[in-house]
């Protein structure tokens, strides 16, 4: 306790010096904490926005090989899938059917290629929070079977207004050309996700257009209650399904978002074959990116800290000469070598933890202030949380960085401290500065 007390008070002796050293540590810690919290928040936001956009965390698509040799993108019967979910006890928040196609919207000579999601709005309440309407209302989707919601910029391209009838040209599941009519029921402010902005229509009508039957769909989205269990639950689900139905390999040679656009349909099969994907599979790129940013951050921190550590080593060398008579006195009074070393190491520990805590607090303040700013609906919307920056602090990471700083500082002070401990007390007492 004695050493701890002396070490702590020693830091107060040269306040400016301690403040500068601690401040340098604080700066490094601040940078890394903000960077990590930003990338972690980025991942969460992207995942969350994608989850809402795609209405789930785990996705099943089906491929049916018909007798004529055609492959149809459809899930005909989802009872096996639902039963397996139930049997495994996977905690599902909601389960959503969607039928998705990409077709050409045509209005008075203007046309736009657009992805349309056929949805059942009653089962996708979450979409109402995610999609902000500029004009019209979601109710139209319930009352008008041919209702269509598309984004502002698509509407602008088509030069249509609310209530206009818009033609759609598409290919049915079986490969025939088909034409349908939509009524523009609402206009959304949809910044989209990585350039994809979806249009929404009624599932039943889309099924009709695709010619796949009323209660069918092309995508089954499972929205889990627990975000963190996506990978483990998906693995369980996949292996259970593999026992019952034909499944495509989960390991895809296509990376990230591309894998959603088509499975590698190698191999021969009869009837239905399913593909299982998770939001994490789709976002592996974003994860990688965040990982790279974090590594760069760590390297910068290490470089910064090494410079600081050289300064700390030199400062402590100086401190030891300043206090040489004190060291001699303590040794004369009966303090062992490790006691002297302990004082300097405690001093280093307090300095590093104090600096790190200061950096942490400053980082918190900066992050709170930064997340007040509203960036609106810009193209970066998908990485924001409702237009705001979102920082996620991962405690384990913070602890790791604190420990890293502490270990580095202790190492930097170790050699001067050892030198102080090994001083000859008679020599130390004779020396005057």
């Amino acid at each position: 306790m004695n050493n701890v007390r002396i070490a702590f008070r020693n830091l107060n002796r040269q306040k400016k010096r301690s403040f500068l050293l601690g401040g340098a540590i604080a700066f490094g810690i601040m940078i890394i904490i903000i960077l990590n919290a930003f990338t972690a928040g980025f991942i969460v936001n992207v995942r969350e926005n994608f989850s809402l956009y795609l209405a789930g965390h785990i996705f099943l698509t089906g491929m049916e090989e018909t007798e004529s040799g055609r492959v149809i993108n459809v899930i005909r019967d989802d009872t096996v899938l639902k039963d397996t979910l139930k049997r495994l006890g996977i905690k599902v928040k909601y389960l959503v059917k969607r039928s998705i196609f990409t077709g050409t919207l045509i209005f008075e000579g203007e046309y736009v290629l657009q992805k349309i999601d056929g949805i059942n709005l009653k089962k996708e309440e979450g979409l109402k929070d995610r999609l902000i309407l500029k004009e019209g209302s979601f109710n139209a989707l319930a009352s008008d079977p041919e209702a269509l919601i598309i984004s502002e910029n698509v509407v602008n391209q088509l030069q249509a207004v609310l209530g206009d009838t818009i033609l759609v040209k598409l290919t049915t599941a079986t490969g025939q050309q088909n034409v349908g009519e939509f009524e523009l029921a609402a206009i959304s402010i949809d910044p989209g996700v990585m350039g994809f902005s979806a249009g929404y229509a009624n599932l039943e009508y889309v099924n009709e257009l695709l010619n796949i039957g009323q209660d069918k769909c092309t995508l089954l989205s499972i929205f889990l209650k627990d975000f963190e269990s996506i990978d483990s639950e998906a693995d369980r689900f996949y292996s259970a399904l593999s026992q019952k139905v034909n499944m495509f390999d989960r390991t895809s040679d296509k990376e990230g978002f591309e894998s959603l656009r088509g499975v590698s349909m190698q191999g021969e099969w009869k009837g239905m074959k399913y593909q299982l994907l998770t939001i994490n599979d789709l976002l592996s790129r974003a994860d990688q990116l965040a990982g790279i940013v974090n590594i760069i951050g760590l390297v910068v921190l290490l470089i910064l800290l090494s410079i600081v550590m050289v300064g700390i080593t030199n400062t402590f060398r100086m401190i030891i000469y300043e206090r040489i008579r004190e060291i001699g006195t303590m040794r004369a009074l009966g303090m062992q070598r490790n006691g002297v070393r302990g004082i300097f190491l405690y001093e280093a520990l307090f300095l590093s933890l104090g600096g790190a805590a200061m950096g942490f607090i400053i980082a918190l303040i900066i992050m709170v202030c930064a997340s007040i700013i509203n960036f609106g609906m810009g193209p970066l919307f998908f990485m924001l949380k409702n237009g705001h920056l979102f920082f996620k602090i991962i405690p384990a990471q913070v602890i790791l960085h604190f420990a890293l700083v502490a270990v580095l500082t202790l190492t930097a002070v170790f050699f001067p401290a050892r030198k102080a401990a090994r001083l000859d007390p008679a020599h130390a007492l004779r020396t005057h500065y």
Partner: protein, 235 residues
């Protein structure tokens, strides 16, 4: 009973290519409860001898015995333990720990070593020491708020904290005016008489030398006279 014994003690310091002979063969024996002064001009070897008695340093040749056992073969750790248990130190420049207040400075040696005192007992003991050296009002002040004489009183109390058998003081009055210096030596003398603690102090002030029971006079690393008269008188 002899508590400190120096037998043909020599101490050399390497200085470049030559050797400085700080102590050139000294024989001294000091009895328990003595109040002894080592006198001599600057460079005569006072500090060197006190350091060897205080187990801060070991002789280059000869033997230093404390309580009958030689210090030469001891490790740094053993020497430190011996210092802590047996010896109290008072320094010319007071050498208080600047970040500790009066009470904490006196407490400092009690927190070293393995034996721990009972908390209440310790507090009472330290407060009694503070009272003994007359610093009751200054208990919670830091050294930089005290005068030289007051600082040396704190140092005396600190030296006595572990109830050592021997207290060594290297020119304890050199940085004090003569009146304060005399008062400090008289305080040491009073404690010596009350507690039978052995005191060895060095000085080159002739007035202060006279307060001692015995005087060892040094010159150029040799003992030039031992005040045997006083010894016979007191013995």
């Amino acid at each position: 009973m002899v508590i400190i014994e120096l037998i043909d003690v020599k101490k050399f310091y390497p200085l470049g290519n030559v050797q400085v002979e700080a102590v050139r063969g000294v024989r001294i024996s000091i009895k328990k409860g003595d109040f002894i002064s080592i006198a001599g001009p600057s460079g005569s070897g006072k500090t060197t001898i006190l350091n060897m008695i205080g187990c801060i340093d070991t002789p280059s040749a000869g033997t230093v015995r404390i309580n009958g056992s030689s210090t030469s073969d001891l490790s740094d750790k053993e020497l430190t333990t011996l210092r802590h248990r047996t010896i109290g130190f008072i320094f010319q420049l007071f050498n208080l720990i600047p970040v500790l207040n009066v009470y904490e400075n006196i407490e400092f040696p009690l927190l070293l070593g393995k034996e721990k005192m009972d908390k209440k007992e310790k507090k009472e003991w330290i407060d009694s020491l503070i009272e003994e050296v007359g610093l009751k009002e200054w208990r919670n002040h830091r050294p930089n708020e005290l005068s030289g004489g007051q600082r040396q009183r704190v140092a005396i109390a600190r030296a006595l904290a572990t109830k050592p058998q021997i207290v060594l003081a290297d020119e304890p009055t050199a940085n004090l005016d003569s009146e304060t210096g005399t008062a400090i030596i008289r305080l040491m003398k009073k404690i010596n008489q009350e507690q039978r603690t052995t005191f060895v102090f060095s000085t080159h002030d002739p007035d202060i030398v006279e307060i001692a029971d015995h005087i060892i006079r040094l010159h150029d690393g040799l003992v030039v006279s031992e005040d045997i008269v006083l010894e016979e008188r007191s013995g």
